[in-house]
């Protein structure tokens, strides 16, 4: 038996449910020295903005118990360079390319979304609702239901490619945010983004992160992410992309059983660059062992 691993977001088919988490797999190409990118369900690239962005001052990362904090500050090469230098190479691979994007305000969100929508070789858009501009009202978009609704609506009505909204865990009820996305026409939601966190050097009495706080990721947050995915998957009918600390097929299967249609491998790429492949192979093996012919039979099948 060769189980069917194919899943879909709207009309976009993924050869398997395993993709990468934005910001942890660069532009995909950084990992082609370890991984046959053709085997991945999809590649989600580093958050892209209209113009190149320098990002935050170092130090940007610090290790924590079973996880890490980062404050990259959405450094990226910008739309133009991405299109010229990265996309042509990415196009050669037989996998879905998903571009994670953001703007400094809503009009920038819309502008880059429009550009990405009309660019060949990009299969779907993932909208990161963490707007980095401290002075913009849109700063609150990820945590304010009203702003979120408006932003999703404005972007949605202008683009035709599948639109995924990447949710922040920093809310009381994440399923409410997901429902808003669904109502405003999103094709999928992905979660969770990192959790605001901090670590201090007691000798210097300084934060070990240049911007004082950063985002926690890795296995430490997996139980929180899994709970969030379960809540969201119960609340919406669009596909959920689950992520947060996935390091193995077993971890990924927990998310699938909790209701995730796809799973993304993030921080785990750093500690084992072939995690994605191990997850794909492990899921397939599990399905064979359990004689499950189609992964869709497992999605959301938690015995409550």
């Amino acid at each position: 038996m060769k189980p069917n691993l194919k899943v879909k977001i709207r009309d976009l088919e993924f050869k398997n449910p395993v993709i990468t988490a934005s910001g942890t797999f660069g532009y995909g190409l950084e990992y082609s020295q370890f991984v046959d990118l053709n085997r991945l369900g999809g590649i989600v690239v580093k958050g892209l903005s209209l113009y190149p962005k320098e990002g935050n001052p170092p130090p940007r990362i610090y290790e924590t118990p079973c996880g890490m904090i980062n404050s990259i500050g959405l450094q990226n090469i910008g739309y133009e360079v991405f299109i010229k230098e990265k996309l042509p190479v990415l196009k050669k691979f037989d996998t879905n390319v998903i571009v994670n994007f953001f703007g400094e305000n809503l009009s920038e969100y819309i502008e880059i979304a429009l550009k990405l929508d009309s660019t060949d070789g990009i299969h779907a858009l993932e909208m990161n609702v963490s707007c980095p501009n401290k002075n913009s009202e849109w700063r609150q978009m990820g945590i304010d239901p009203k702003l979120l609704a408006q932003a999703v609506k404005e972007v949605r009505k202008r683009i035709s490619k599948p639109l995924i909204i990447k949710l922040s865990p920093q809310v009381t009820d994440i399923s409410l945010m997901a429902k808003i996305c669904e109502e405003e026409g999103a094709d999928a939601v992905s979660l969770i983004n990192t959790i605001p966190a901090m670590v201090i050097d007691i000798k210097t009495r300084r934060s070990l992160i240049g911007t004082l706080t950063g985002g926690l990721s890795g296995p430490a947050i997996r139980p929180v992410a899994l709970r969030a995915v379960w809540e969201v998957a119960k609340a919406v009918n669009i596909p959920v992309i689950g992520m947060g600390g996935i390091t193995s097929a077993e971890d990924a299967l927990q998310f699938i059983i909790a209701g995730a249609t796809l799973v993304a491998v993030g921080t785990a790429n750093f500690i084992n660059p072939i995690t994605t492949i191990e997850v794909i192979e492990g899921i397939e093996k599990f399905l064979v062992e359990e004689t499950i012919e189609d992964i869709k039979e497992l999605i959301g099948k938690l015995n409550e």
Partner: protein
Amino acid sequence: MNKYSKAKIKSNVSLKEDIYLITLETSSTQQAKPGQFYILRPDVRLDPFLGRPLSVFEREDNVLKFLYRIKGKGTKLLSNLNEGDLIQITGPLGKGYPLPKDEFIVIAGGIGLASVYYLIKSFPKKAHLFYGVRNKEELLFYDLLKEFSKELCVATECGSLGYQGVVTEVFSQKGLQLNLPIYACGPMIMIKEIGRIIEGKEIPCYVAVEERMACGVGACLGCVIPTNQGFKRVCTEGPVFDIKELIL
């Protein structure tokens, strides 16, 4: 695609107090250039979480060596591994040193030797080595270094061997006028001092720098340092930089 593999530990011994040499047997066919590094993770346990970068100390046939000082829990843990244990290695990573065409100067501070030793050995009798340590006890591989380098100048802070003082003093007295390209690895304070000494001069100077790393392959953007062309990633644009690029 065997840049990521499990290697078997052949030996892991303390050379001096907190300085260890670990020798791995690897089936990877990846060769390595001086100045490149690997990321090592002892096992599958998730605490400590990230791997630790170490410079290639030597690479020959199926043997790979790293020289390291115990700094915190990652290196402490590494030092506890035994012969026969497996360890996860990813590499070689980074750009390494531009290969010297003829004679060159090496300035090594303390454990910085780990990064330049392979360079010195790869170009026998070409390196004028200025090697600074706190005291005689910290000096490593004296005989081998003597053999491989063209000239060896040791500086100890306390004067227990060679010149008394910091290595940059000796270099500016005896090395600077050689007008040879410089390769350096050591604490930031040493790098800064070198920058000061050669300021305005035309001598090429390559330094290996350190920054905390997660991916090691340019993907996470975690290891950047400021340069005069904006942030650069130590793991991919470095770890070796032209000193003129750096904002010291």
